[in-house]
Symmetry: C2
Subunit: 492 residues, 2 copies
Amino acid sequence: MSEKVNPKTEKITFNIDKEKNFSDWFTEIIKTAELADIRYNVKGFLVFQPWSVLSMESIYFFLERVLQKKGHKPYWYPAVIPEKNFYLEQEHVQGFTPEVFWVTEHGAGEKLEEKLALRPTSETAFYQMFSIWIRSYNDLPFKTYQRAQVWRYETKATRPFLRAREFHWIETHCAFETEEDARAQVQEDMETTEEVLHTILGVPFIFFKRPQWDKFAGAVNTFGADTLMPDGRVLQLPSTHLLGQNFSKPFNVKFTDSEGQEKFTFLTCYGPAVGRIFAAVCAVHGDNKGLRFPWAIAPVQIVIVPIGMNKDKNVLTKAHTLKEKLQNAFYRVEVDVSEKMPGEKFYFWEMKGVPVRLELGPKEILEGKLTVFRRDTNSKTQILEKDLLSFIEKTGKEITENLKTQADQKFKDVLVSVKTKAEIEPVIVAGKIARTPFCSTNMEGNACAELIEKEIHARVRGTRIDVPQTVSGNCVVCNKPAKETVYIAREY
Amino acid sequence: MSEKVNPKTEKITFNIDKEKNFSDWFTEIIKTAELADIRYNVKGFLVFQPWSVLSMESIYFFLERVLQKKGHKPYWYPAVIPEKNFYLEQEHVQGFTPEVFWVTEHGAGEKLEEKLALRPTSETAFYQMFSIWIRSYNDLPFKTYQRAQVWRYETKATRPFLRAREFHWIETHCAFETEEDARAQVQEDMETTEEVLHTILGVPFIFFKRPQWDKFAGAVNTFGADTLMPDGRVLQLPSTHLLGQNFSKPFNVKFTDSEGQEKFTFLTCYGPAVGRIFAAVCAVHGDNKGLRFPWAIAPVQIVIVPIGMNKDKNVLTKAHTLKEKLQNAFYRVEVDVSEKMPGEKFYFWEMKGVPVRLELGPKEILEGKLTVFRRDTNSKTQILEKDLLSFIEKTGKEITENLKTQADQKFKDVLVSVKTKAEIEPVIVAGKIARTPFCSTNMEGNACAELIEKEIHARVRGTRIDVPQTVSGNCVVCNKPAKETVYIAREY
């Protein structure tokens, strides 16, 4: 177990078996690495601290860069949405109203003219403006996004980064001429998820087409990315939604086509939540000693630990010279000048997940060498000081690649095919995902899904669309001929 | 007057006399350049569009970079603050409660256990956490900030970017051992303002120490940066506040000093609002043809306009080659491939404020030359294509420097010394700031300030602290011996 101590003054040795005891590991690393503080005095709300914020800002940076490259333009919408907007799309109001926080008063208790929702999601804000802005096919595709917080009155137990009443995300909203264009956007959203979450952050996932009973309120179809947490439960990462004309009709988002015909647009939306993505990065890559950051989003990429700095002034001078050299090459670098013993510093920065540590003492200086510790492999090596920049460039890439390979390896064998209901639970208990024949992912299949939830406490995640799927046999619950092959798992 | 037309399909010639008719100019440029849309259906709230968002994101970038360099760490605090937190600091609750939006319900109208304020500012959120985190002098200075939105139920007329019920800002919150340290932080905040607003954005301002009746609710002293808008009214840009122990006592933000004594910390906060800063940039640098962006925050820095692209395919190929070359050097570049006539394209991007335009036709390609238009000087020149990168590097700097020099020039003669009350109004009407002897900026001077506000519709902005001030003569209102030299102006 971890000792709960002040990192600034006392020794930390974080040591929790992540695989066996993930829940403890996650709770303790949030405290020990100072990722977030749950002691804020509003239930379900928390304060995110610098070590997570710096990393989540990097996640925002990469998501926004990819979105902008693909033609999405950034907007800032109001945080409040008038009550009447919600009532325009029936499924949406039913799905979201129970979760809405309402702003009803101002000043010394005066009533507002109209109740305002703190946005739980922004379809009903974006599309009323789309109806003003979009006029003709020349305006399409119309691809937007915003970086924002949303608020949802969760009734389930909240957990930092995983489920809270306030979270930070990006939401994209796009309008198209045809359903085909909209479907292509959903495909692009899945590729965006791959580019950022898998390639840059090393987090593996599978996109499932959700069953009709589990889609976004108001969508035609929802596609959600699931990753597997160390305790064998899946965590939903970004989801993308084909909204069809479900919102464009009530919000009157029309365009005139090239032949002068007025038509309703087809809409899509996509919602990567940076807090959840950050949680997945911590959970997937962390080890028993603490966090392990992929290079691109490490708040500090390189920590320099001077050894014997009180005895030899050259050590600190050299440390700062190296810091400057690395910073000029755009790396994020710290020199640990605290009064702790080197060993304590090592433990601390390993727990914090800094990818590379440089150790530097009089001996290293004399020899023109540096001792390098890599957090991904927990191993030390020596390099020539003159090779530092090229070494770091190479190693940064290697570290991300290595974390990704390790995570992919664990994820590879996670899908287990079963043919009967009795076989599902052992798979789930082993922390894997069961693949089974299933009657239907349309509403008529919901009864079977509910039975699985009741008996096995697991949920039907949907069908795969990334690889060709064969369907054979009968539904493992109702024994009717299977129309789908679905995946079943426990979820966060 | 501007023609209100769809920029995608029709010609735009923006032409409003900014100096003579600033109010129109500002309203129209917001619409024509698509900076923000006021048609969102909640009063006082608006939608910020890509052209302003991209620029405001750059303003965030520079502010955050400077703050982080000076040791501020980023946090994300909840958007809601429990009602009880507000009641801990008496002046603060009186100052802010009238402006608070209250979240009181969830779901289908169920009451929350406790009313939650949508943060109008976050002192009462930050300092309760400071009281948990700060233990000893080793934890000090404790320097934080967050990028956030705040909400205030403004009763004055709202104006896009200038006064709205929701705005985007940064707020810093810092804790110190001594009042001296806190005062040094206030000084540093003023330097940060200079570094970003003046050096990078070219917007001149003066910091005034606000009179006691105009300070931040709960502060010991408030220092606000005023710039002058083209209509002669001042606009408050960032303000920084010495809070002393006014908040640390009720919120119990204590530390143990090096001798083991428990003491209350001294607190400061600083709040640059990016929307206002953006408005100042537009207003100060714009001309009758539209916006003129300083280089660092231009959403597009260089627009390439191909001439005769339908006749000669090389033109478009070359345009894209140049774009790529410039993008690889980290510039923000667009090629205008629309079907508009070149002249229309020129007007459009000039109105949008893009600093540099490259014109490129078959003739230029043949000669290995480029025609360059600079928006700051509205002048054309020719360069050799091979010199493009070095030319852009030099010109980017020159443009910012030139806009800054022009703005400084106008700002230079803005302060006019007067000795009598009768002399104030003509100075104000001429769009300047009156400098007068005044009885006092403590509360006993408020009556004189109110008289000025009533008779001249102008406000006492405070005293200067950046240059030595002499005080002589009697108060221009009550004729008592003057204790201060104050500055009087009309404000936004």
